[in-house]
């Protein structure tokens, strides 16, 4: 009985990218519409969970060779770094800044430093969820 789940694996190969792109969209849309780092992180984690359901742990580890505890640490460092970078400019802790930039492909874009904090939240949520699921799922 070799490879008896062709349909789920083929579906996963398409649906994974849909869920992942939607999570990226929800992460970037969080400033003006519902969404943000938490929901985006949970959706990315659920895309990886879909990969884990269709394939097995070793294949997913080979495809996405991340150490998820390191991802939690990077996210926390990013959030703390964004919060404490405001001290360098002689303003209170956690003061955010924004400015308008003329990016190549996007036109006039307003970039806010709260997005870096949201990126930290995103990484912590993905790392924590995947650590929980992998440590529950991988022991027999």
């Amino acid at each position: 009985m070799k490879n008896s789940d062709v349909i789920i694996q083929t579906t996963t190969k398409v649906v994974f990218f849909m869920i992942f792109l939607f999570s990226i969209h929800i992460f970037f849309a969080g400033h003006y519409t519902p969404g943000g780092g938490f929901v985006g992180g949970l959706l990315t984690a659920s895309a990886i969970v879909l990969l884990l359901l269709a394939f097995d742990i070793q294949t997913v580890r080979k495809a996405l060779p991340f150490n998820y505890t390191v991802i939690i640490a990077i996210g926390l460092l990013l959030a703390l770094g964004t919060a404490s970078a405001s001290i360098l400019f002689d303003v209170p802790f956690f003061t955010h800044a924004y400015d308008d930039f003329r990016l190549p492909l996007f036109g006039l874009t307003s970039l806010h430093s709260a997005m870096m904090f949201d990126l930290g939240v995103y990484l912590v949520v993905v790392g924590a969820t995947m650590t929980i699921i992998l440590s529950i799922g991988s022991d027999d």
Partner: protein, 94 residues
């Protein structure tokens, strides 16, 4: 007129959900319950679309997609548990 139609649609969706809940409670086997849960997910999704039309807002569009994704993943996890006994396999047995 349109509001009345949407209210009637909401009542019919909730009636369908009640029927699915009956199948979850009385369902003789596990696959019956999983299919009924999937059906409740789809009906909730449609109800959210009708409610967002009633409230005249676009803020619930992401909720519809997320509920569809979560219902899909949950159904797959349940059916894999029923068929294989494990949800996440350590290594493929081929």
């Amino acid at each position: 007129m349109v509001n009345t139609l949407m209210l009637i649609a909401l009542i019919l969706f909730s009636f369908t959900i009640v029927i699915a809940v009956y199948r979850i409670i009385r369902g003789p086997s596990k696959p019956d319950r999983v299919i009924a849960l999937d059906m409740i997910g789809v009906n909730l999704l449609a109800s959210i679309a009708v409610v967002s039309c009633l409230l005249e807002t676009k803020a619930f569009m992401e909720v519809i997609l997320i509920l569809g994704i979560l219902s899909f993943i949950g159904t797959i996890a349940f059916s894999k548990y029923i068929e294989r006994g494990v949800i996440v396999e350590r290594r493929h047995n081929r």
